[in-house]
């Protein structure tokens, strides 16, 4: 063994040599100056000299250690030299795993596609018939939700051709009732007629707001249920118009549900199509490799 010259400087001659010093001395890699110092110390130190001698003998014995002669040849036979197949890539491992199941996956994809078509058709058919049923139920609902006769009359009156004088008051709200009163005052007339007209207008005014409120409530699909005081004095709860209460509202809600459920099914169907394409691609590529 050859070692490069060491830069290690041994201790002064009065200090014991370290193992590194002794090894460097055995290998002959100390510089000339360091060598002189080490040899001078060994002459004066029996302990270090003994260590050096035994270390040198050990290294010499190691370098002269006998070596085995092989009992047999280690040349490779053709069987031993057969190189293993390269480690398959992740893609190859995936393909090996999925290729045997391709027929099953294809059948499953066809089944899911048929299911998708049947569910969609069923959904379309049921929603069409449901729409017809909804229309009938809405009209029935309106009839059952009519208010009390007094209120009903006020309602019908309000829907009929309004009288001019009263109509102003009927259309107006509380703030406008003052204008109607003033109008009646301006037009003048006898006190009796004024009183009569006042009473008529006041009654009309009482009924009109109620009459106005009801159609307004019915017209708004999003109106919350409100309580109002009917001319009879009893609070009644107006019917909350559901989204299906009117044809326009019904169709919007129904179409929203229809779109939401079909969208989900469409997502599943698209996923199946993608899996089909992936499996087909993997299968074709593996077949191509096998052919090669």
């Amino acid at each position: 063994m050859t070692m490069p010259p060491s830069e290690h400087q041994p201790n002064r001659h009065d200090e014991h040599l370290t193992d590194a010093d002794l090894n460097e001395l055995v290998d002959g890699t100390l510089t000339s100056r360091a060598l002189e110092r080490a040899q001078a110390h060994l002459l004066s130190c029996q302990e270090c000299d003994a260590h050096y001698q035994t270390l040198q003998a050990t290294v010499t014995a190691l370098r002269q250690a006998p070596s085995l002669m092989p009992r047999r040849s280690f040349e490779l036979t053709p069987e031993q030299a057969k190189r293993p197949d390269p480690v398959p890539s992740r893609f190859d491992r995936f393909a090996d795993w999925i290729v045997p199941g391709i027929p099953v996956i294809k059948l499953a994809t066809i089944a899911v596609a048929l299911l998708f078509v049947s569910v969609t058709a069923f959904d379309v058919l049921t929603n069409q018939s449901g729409q017809n049923d909804m229309g009938q139920s809405t009209s029935l609902q309106r009839q059952t939700d009519l208010p009390a006769p007094a209120a009903q009359n006020a309602q019908t009156e309000s829907t009929e051709a309004p009288v001019f004088g009263e109509s102003n008051a009927s259309i107006s709200d509380d703030s406008d009732s003052e204008i109607a009163l003033e109008t009646t005052d301006v037009t003048g007339g006898a006190a009796e007629s004024d009183a009569a007209s006042d009473s008529n207008s006041s009654s009309a005014m009482q009924e009109a707001p109620a009459a106005i409120q009801q159609p307004a409530l019915a017209a708004s699909p999003t109106a919350e249920s409100t309580s109002f005081v009917s001319p009879t004095g009893t609070p009644e709860r107006s019917v909350t118009p559901s989204p299906s209460a009117t044809p326009a509202a019904e169709s919007d809600g129904w179409s929203a549900n229809f779109a939401l459920s079909n969208w989900r099914i469409a997502e599943l169907g698209l996923l199946m199509v993608l899996i089909w394409l992936l499996v087909s691609w993997v299968g074709r590529s593996r077949v191509g490799q096998d052919d090669e």
């Binding site: 063994m1 050859t2 070692m3 490069p4 193992d19 590194a20 090894n23 260590h51 001698q53 035994t54 270390l55 040198q56 003998a57 050990t58 290294v59 010499t60 014995a61 190691l62 370098r63 002269q64 250690a65 006998p66 070596s67 085995l68 002669m69 092989p70 009992r71 047999r72 040849s73 280690f74 040349e75 490779l76 053709p78 031993q80 030299a81 190189r83 293993p84």
Partner: protein, 219 residues
């Protein structure tokens, strides 16, 4: 078991190194004959390395064969340079795998190493002093026994640098470590071997006698 004495390994010259390189590159291209030529040139040193690491001959032979099979399989990974450190690196890793699998140190028993003559083996051709041969044989036995009792890394350093004769730089490649670390392990291994052999008076005497004999010969 018959041993051939003398220097265990001649330092390879450039021509040998170039030849080994050509052989390994041919093996990488699938030339089994070229690889087997390389095996024949290096099987002795690889076997001895495995034997020093594992301590028993059957295990050493198995490890040696495995090492050459791995070298053939991975011939394509050889990038050039000295082939012997590359082979030794594969053999060392194979031995470490076996040691890890067994999770034990090689036995320190002298019975594991038998000096016996096998007709199938080549016999010693050098003329030597029988007394000296016997003493060397005893010292070798003690040395082999002591080798099994030092840590694996120190044993590998001593085997590569002192027994196999590898330069420090090549030993660092085999051990996949720095020059300083190889030197440190080598020095500590030598010191431990010296202490183990010197622990017995007979060992100390053999060591000193060996020194005295070599001193007389040099004079």
């Amino acid at each position: 078991m018959v041993f051939r004495r003398g220097k265990n390994a001649d330092p390879p010259d450039n021509s040998v190194q170039d030849q080994d390189e050509r052989l390994i590159f041919a093996a990488a291209r699938g030339d089994l004959d070229a690889f087997n030529k390389l095996v024949t040139q290096n099987e002795r040193s690889v076997l001895n390395l495995c034997w020093r690491m594992l301590g028993t001959l059957p295990e050493a032979e198995d490890a040696c064969q495995d090492a050459f099979i791995k070298a053939w399989t991975n011939a394509g990974s050889f990038k050039g340079g000295a082939v012997r450190p590359w082979l030794f690196r594969i053999a060392t890793n194979t031995c470490y795998d076996l040691l890890r699998a067994k999770s034990r140190k090689p036995t320190g028993s002298l019975d594991a190493i038998e000096f016996e003559t096998d007709p199938g083996w080549s016999t010693q051709s050098d003329a030597v002093d029988p007394v000296r041969f016997a003493e060397t044989g005893d010292l070798s036995r003690m040395l082999e026994s002591a080798l099994t009792q030092i840590p694996d890394e120190q044993r590998l350093a001593v085997t590569l640098c002192d027994i196999q004769g590898l330069p420090l730089a090549e030993a660092a490649l085999v051990m996949d470590t720095s020059l300083g670390t190889v030197k440190s392990r080598l020095f500590r291994g030598r010191a431990k071997l010296r202490d183990l052999i010197s622990a017995s008076p007979a060992g100390r005497e053999l060591l000193l006698h060996g020194v005295r004999s070599s001193t007389r010969e040099s004079e």
